[in-house]
Symmetry: D3
Subunit: 309 residues, 6 copies
């Protein structure tokens, strides 16, 4: 009986041991969006990965976006969409549609997809349990954006209660203002706020890029790990530019709030979450605070750090 | 200093004592719909009543409907609505819209209204945590109604976990089939299933009628309390007829599942829930199993029964 | 069906909501004495009020007096009573009679009255569980008063254990000295010591006056709320004089020990406790620390303060 | 260094090991009365013994009498005392005095004596927490005895709560009727009811006799152990007679309710409780159910039985 | 960036998901012996596998043998070894040496090897905490085998306490008799007794054969799964013969005691435990009760069964 | 019936009360060795004493030696033993034999002796649960002693877990190095390390001397108590000399680590542990920190101190 193929399988499991050991019990926040949310087979890979995190003893929390779906629904309802500086101007009607699409459709369906692979999940909006409390946000030039909010406080009671009962919270980026009104929130910022409030060990952004690249056209220039200082340097030098600037700022904000590692992953690669967390080589860019030792082979170094602690 | 008005207030509080004592710690399921959901001032009265139940130590659970809002949204989206035997024929597209409206709009807004008066609340759909598990339902003449479901199992884990953490669950009548698909559920039936699975002490239907009347045109013929046998007799005699028949059957089904009292209240009267539960006279019709002693003054008798236990 | 009377009832309940919400879980110490203890119908009103506090989620603790009853019993036993500066000179025999009357008669009967309205209660003396530990107290001119004690330490173990088990502790003002002897304690001082040690939210004195009045002959001059500074000013100016001086000093002492509000109520008004705590208008005088904002409508302001916290 | 005296001490401790092991965690009810309650040095020996039981890991509960003290107080108050068939005819006034003396004086003082030797204790009456619920008792010839009660139900909530908090409950034999009135209870019967309701391992009667003797004038005829059948036989033969008959019936009643061993001890011998429970030879008479193997050396046999279990 | 090798890794992890889900929280007893205990590299593979079980949420318990090491030590000490019917005749001296070698050398070293890979482990003998209680065992022809014992009772208190504290118990097959003497136990029988008492989900025998084969010389005739009936049939037909008979009887005995699956694995294949439990194909023979559906692909069927439960 | 002998027994028990009260719940580490371990009847007395400590509510921990038995076994195996400065030079082979004898024979047998008198016990080595972590120790003149270790860290997890589950840990002085190797540890030092890490109340050395004597030939010169300063003075003056110097240094080291009392007892006196702890007179020498008041009658002073605290 030739066992070699089987033994190779065992070796993959064995390779995962130090990562399983290191991360057991940790909270991981996943910002879910982009291609990984629209392509059905990628979607199932993400759902499976999140379930696996749960089985391996982590406490996953999902924050999802849904701009495209909101725009679609607004179109079907004949409501015009306007953007200022990349942000959707949100009147009462738009806010209602956004909430309905995010909380009533996308979030509930993600929760039910997770249920299908055997893990309990609950779709909540940031209004449930007053989880995401916001204040009105202005445009960059002080324009009135309507019901667009900045998270000013996260009440983690509901999230913690769901995690403690074994459910995965699936959070739609809708918040509640002091005035009781419903506000739309940028999903990346919502994820940062949630991860910070939970003191999550990891925040994972599923994106449509490979990570942070020195040369956007050349995959081989991927930064496997960056410290905050390095990232700031790259932004100053213009190496990080365009849409990666706000994403990078989100990473830095999360690290500032006490998240230990932020990962920018390519959601177009199936199982990118598992690969990043449980294999030596990893995939994508991991960002850490300056006091964390970075290396080209980030997952290893992270586990290595644990071993010495 | 004339104290008479003050003392009268104290007497109302004192009158409530035996009811507070009797019901503390009990679970109460409220089926919320009708005028009480559309008239803004009635809505605030209901929200306040539910908050009061929570402050007085009960564990309230809300199940809401929303047929009118679904029809509106379908209209705006140009999707035709068809009914067979009073039930909405629900294709995939209709099911998606229904879920979005129920879970993403109505439920979330009720939860956020409750938050505004200071009690924690969470809008969940029956798909979250696989709470409402359904099978496909056929029309009375075996017509295919599409994604319309009958609840076959309620997993109370999520509801209990929210109650134990101090939140009021606000449940939209959307279920999950064995096939993982989304099904629309009649809200009255959903409320019965939830109340039965929770072994609730009370199930309250907020309706647009005063209760069960011997003569529909004469308020003075209201039955204050009915046993299952009496109700069955009234249906057989045709005294209960029309739309009150399925409502009455819901009451009987809930009592069969172990709910102790089912109340049909007039949601058009402000604070009808508080009045029914915490004052001697009550309002509306209370239905009980045959082993419960009924009387014209139901709340009293119920409390009285408790006292002797 | 005319509902107006019923709806008025609901409004009283609704009026109570913010107070119920604010005070749930709080400890309230009630110093019980005066007419409210001797008039049978007032007594039942007080007992009912205390039971209501329990049903509304508070943790009531009762400290009672009984000077009149002690004097009666001493008289029946032919033991002469002597007072110095308003304090009873207490020899061994007198101390025994006082303990017997307070702990064996008054306290046990209050506990059993509370049991009759359905709440568990236990009559303890300050000697049980070494709850009230005292040192010998001298008269104002250093006279020997015998077994009269000042509380120097409260061991709250027994009181907390009874509260946690759902019982209302009914405490008689009898203490234990370092020498193991039994000491009589002024009931007002005992109540202050207990409220302070429990960090009670409220201390309520049931008295035979309406509260603190600017003109003792004119009810309309009642102070609805006073800060410590204001009270000190009124004593300095002689507005507060006579028997109200030591009572006021008790209030100040309790506030100093961390009690948040002290109420002087007219025990001759039925249900004065409920009226003070659960209605907007209140009754009697509420005293607070200087850092609490006072107002003529004290209960409201207190609740209002909570809302903003 | 001659160690023989020291080693003899160690042997006494060693002798106690199997008894300590066997009885740890058990509930023991002690009916306290007779000379052991009036003689100061015997009283201190009893108090010390009870404290020792607590230190050795048992859960002691004390039920005390006080007939003599009640009679004294009635005398001082000029209230005549009448007995029918050995039972005090108890009018309202007598009941009040009895309660006052038992709960307000004797019980509180026992609790405070226990506190002095370092164990927490609380004096409760059977009315506290509705612990002893009674019905009116008639005389043997159906005479009206007034407020004399038979225990019909023991609510152990308060007793268990005190034991769990580490306090020794000291219970005075005063009960509460369905009518809410205060009733006097025979202390032996109260002890039996309490021991039965607690499923106590042991019930100890401290008496003024050596135990059950075949010949009342001859100590050497002491029965060290008796089964229920043997005791019934001795009553039938008239060997057990006079005042020992009701005492023996109490023992039998307690065993019927599930108490495992009932001891009749000579309270005039210092430390009789410790000697009976923790030494081989024992003292007094131990009564057991027929299914327990009796022997002349009861404690041993009891421990022996345990060892084989 | 070519991801194919990485994605293949992810697929192995994904393949493990249903098994991880199914077995989380289960107790697995591993009988450790044979080549896997003497070959250093196989030993590290077993140690790693056991650690992995722990990281994946199982509760592993190890029972080890050590006949060879005992024989070696007896030889070094000049103590002759005699066997009757394959069982070591064990005089007092031999029993002492066996205990010393098993508990003092092999067990402690396994525990310390587990500690080296980061999981807590404790070497206990069956005498610790009276875990393995035995009676004297006779030879097949009633020969006196000396201190050889049959397990008659397992006290799981110590094992459960260690598991609950996060330690892996490593048990040496030494027991305690009623007489307090030390007895040697066959390690396979000890493992069966432990697995039965713990109601383990799995019992794994690490052996030096591939499993149960139809033709011992032909690996391709391996039975991947067998029911008890099938195994009994194979023994009756002589297909299972020689040393596999007692091993098979052990499997049946364990299934009788409530263990759900017993695995006979080839300890000579590195990571055979992980492969058997976490991959589709498995390795070795799995035996189940007749009520479990067997199949050629056992692990799948087992997981499949779970899904439907 | 002459009760005098019985009453004398009661007095011994009564004498023990303050000690029982003072020491309940405390951890006591007993270094067990010398004659008390080799003489069978002394051994049973020690075992009984340790069981008694457990019954009286203490948490005993045993650390044992076994040099003589190791030397015997090495002799039987023909392995030469070499000592440098009183310490055994320990090559790999010697370390294996030492571990086997200590953990596999002596420890397991002590645990099983404790089991025989009815208390649960578990023999662990310092390698189990990485309890005793060591570094290599050199001889006084820097000689290589082989696998001889100094304890550098005690992980109390396993010990605490066993104590909490009601077991007595019996620890053999074998440790684990950073390199994973097995090291021999001096049992006195191991006991000091364990007592210090547990913040034990008492550390008891069972020795073959009476305690610390001013004149080694004269028992009457026994120091009943010594402070650290006094002990240091006696060493400086040469009054404490020879083998008592390292023992005294052990005592001082334990007190430095927070142990409150260290006792040097004569293990040749039966029940010396009980006598020292539970009688007024005590036996042996008790050493305390300088801030503890010493006296000739140490146990009393210790208890006395407690009383005033």
């Amino acid at each position: 009986m030739d066992m070699s193929r089987e033994i190779a399988k065992a070796e993959v499991l064995i390779e995962a041991i130090p990562y399983i050991r290191t991360f057991a019990g940790s909270t991981v926040v996943i910002k879910y969006g982009g291609s990984a949310m629209t392509d059905e087979s990628l979607k199932m890979a993400v759902i499976t990965d999140i379930a696996m995190l749960k089985y391996l003893g982590l406490r996953p929390v999902v924050v999802h976006g849904g701009g495209r779906e909101i725009t679609d629904m607004l179109g079907r309802l004949g409501i015009p969409t306007r953007f200022i500086g990349g942000q959707r101007v949100t009147d009462v009607q738009t806010a209602q549609v956004a909430e309905m699409v995010l909380s009533g459709s996308i979030g509930k369906n993600l929760a039910s997809d997770l249920e299908k692979v055997g893990v309990g999940a609950v779709g909540i909006s940031g209004k449930d349990g007053r989880t995401l409390q916001v204040e009105k946000k202005k445009g960059h030039h002080n324009e009135d954006l309507g019901y667009v909010g900045n998270v000013v406080h996260v009440d983690v009671t509901l999230i913690e209660s769901l995690l403690d009962s074994g459910f995965i919270p699936v959070i739609s980026p809708v918040g509640i203002g002091q005035d009781g009104a419903t506000y739309n929130i940028n999903a990346d910022y919502a994820a940062v706020a949630v991860a910070g409030a939970l003191k999550a060990r990891k925040l994972v952004f599923l994106t449509d890029v490979e990570g942070i690249l020195a040369d956007v056209g050349d995959s081989s220039t991927l930064f496997r790990s960056l410290t905050v200082s390095q990232a700031r340097g790259l932004m100053a030098e213009g190496v990080i530019s365009g849409g990666m600037v706000p994403k990078t700022e989100c990473c830095i904000a999360a690290l500032d709030k006490g998240v230990r590692h932020v990962h920018i992953l390519d959601g177009r690669v199936a199982h990118s979450i598992l690969l990043e967390i449980y294999t030596h080589r990893g995939i994508g860019t991991m960002m850490t605070g300056d006091d964390e030792v970075g290396s080209n082979d980030q997952a290893d170094s992270e586990v290595g750090k644990e071993e010495q602690a």
